[in-house]
């Protein structure tokens, strides 16, 4: 297979990733103390996939996952926010090389890098992009959409920061290093 193309593994990762993203968005929202707001676990998963499979996978999982979820659960697609999910996935994915999660090590330094990256990525996404697009497309009042973005951004940053980090740490542990398995009688 040629180098410039996506590997089959990445393609499948995008497909399955999008499916999981949707299921988490629909079912794995944790009820939070704030009335009728939930903690969205799906972005933590998006971050994990982005770190494991890179920016393209991250971006497409965000795009496909969010668009499909909107479509099948709301019958219409809020492109402004879909684009944000894509960008967030893509930006976090850019850190994949640095994280090198497959190596199986995920020490404090990496944790910090990861969280800086995810905060920046989501900041750009939720604080700037989302409101900008809302104004552009729907000409909605600036202060409204900025507050929306602010809230969504902050809650997602916290979720990804907590759960995302947990998931990455857990995933790193699962990478069995070479020549590590022996039968112990």
């Amino acid at each position: 297979m040629k180098k410039n193309q996506l590997s089959i593994k990445t393609i499948v990762a995008i497909g399955i990733g999008a499916a999981v993203f949707i299921i988490l968005a629909k079912f794995a929202a944790i009820p939070s103390p704030v009335p009728n707001t939930t903690i969205q676990t799906s972005y933590a998963f998006l971050a994990l996939m982005a770190v494991v499979f890179g920016p393209i996978a991250g971006g497409l999982i965000g795009l496909i996952g969010h668009a499909l979820n909107d479509a099948i659960s709301y019958g219409s697609v809020w492109w402004s926010w879909v684009v944000v999910s894509m960008i967030v996935g893509l930006l976090i994915g850019l850190a994949a090389k640095k994280m090198d999660i497959e190596s199986g090590v995920f020490h404090t330094k990496k944790i910090i890098t990861f969280n800086i990256v995810q905060v920046i990525a989501q900041g750009i996404g939720w604080f700037l992009l989302a409101p900008a697009l809302d104004i552009l497309i729907y000409a909605e009042p600036a202060n409204k959409v900025f507050l929306q973005g602010l809230f969504a951004g902050l809650s997602n940053m916290v979720t990804v920061g907590v759960i995302g980090t947990l998931l990455l740490a857990g995933y790193a542990k699962t990478r069995s290093r070479s020549n590590s398995l022996t039968r112990e009688l």
Partner: protein
């Protein structure tokens, strides 16, 4: 757990007859038209027209009512929010102010504001029927083929197909995992405190991720073993050839789009202003 989802509804109707490609293009054209314009006349026209199409499709409203209800609630809240945050947005946009009656402070109700908010709502309404139709009248397995036809790389198209294909499986897995976790004594309900709940959530999400990672492994193996990605393109078992109907529809939608754009932007402003 049973959260309803929209899915393909099988009918014999002109809409179902159209190829997925046609429907996909029309959907895109339509949404972009509705996104770009803010011209009330256009939006009104799009809305009425899409209602007509919806009737042709023989899809019953009751079959999609659960999303409609959701959307109505969403729009209501959205409108409320808009008003709370900027009650004079309309005035700003249309540059005039016809006061109807006063409430406290800046919350005076103006015709402009009402008109503006009607437009916002109309903007959503104009897209919803078409979007709904696109989803419930396009067979998922034809969808990927269509994406590929309009120029998306078949690898990415297939990723979308996989997503659609595996949503039910993942849902089943998620449920099984959640259940077997609870069977080992983990509590997900509101009874637990928040930190514990987050930890527990992770304890369910994590197995799901592990099993999904294994899935990715096995599926890509299976696909590799059956020669996926060998060539630079691939054919599609479920793709359908174009018929007269498709060309007509595409032409019609193209025309609508162009007119919409012309009417909207001829005066260099995407808003239609009845107040001057």
């Amino acid at each position: 757990m049973a959260v309803e989802m929209l899915s393909y509804i099988d009918r014999k109707s002109p809409i179902h007859q159209l190829t997925g490609v046609t429907k996909l293009i029309c959907f895109i054209v339509w949404s972009s038209a509705a996104m770009l314009t803010y011209d009330t006349r256009i939006l009104a026209f799009l809305f009425v027209f899409s209602i007509l199409i919806f009737m042709i499709s023989k899809i019953k409203v009751s079959e999609v009512s659960f999303v409609l209800i959701f959307i109505l609630v969403f729009l209501f809240i959205n409108n409320l929010a808009i008003y709370l945050f900027s009650p004079q947005e309309g005035v700003k946009i249309y540059g005039s102010s016809h006061v109807l009656f006063e409430i406290a402070g800046r919350y005076t109700v103006t015709i402009e504001q009402i008109f503006y908010q009607c437009n916002v709502t109309l903007k959503y309404f104009a897209v919803i029927p078409v979007a709904l139709l696109f989803i419930v009248t396009t067979h998922p397995s034809e969808f990927a083929a269509s994406l590929n036809k309009i120029g998306v790389s078949y690898r990415i198209s297939y990723a979308v197909a996989l997503a659609l294909r595996y949503i039910p499986d993942i849902q089943r897995d998620f449920r099984n995992i959640a259940l077997s976790q609870q069977a080992r004594g983990i509590d997900m309900s509101k009874k637990e405190k928040l930190p514990i709940r987050i930890k527990n959530a992770a304890s369910i999400i994590f197995p799901l991720i592990l099993s999904s990672m294994d899935k990715i492994e096995t599926i890509s193996n299976a696909m590799e073993l059956r020669g996926f990605g060998k060539n630079n393109q691939r054919t599609w078992y479920r793709a359908r050839p174009f018929q007269a109907g498709d060309y007509v529809t595409l032409a019609a939608f193209g025309l609508i789009f162009v007119t919409a754009m012309v009417v909207t932007f001829h005066d260099g402003n995407r808003f239609y202003n009845p107040f001057v």
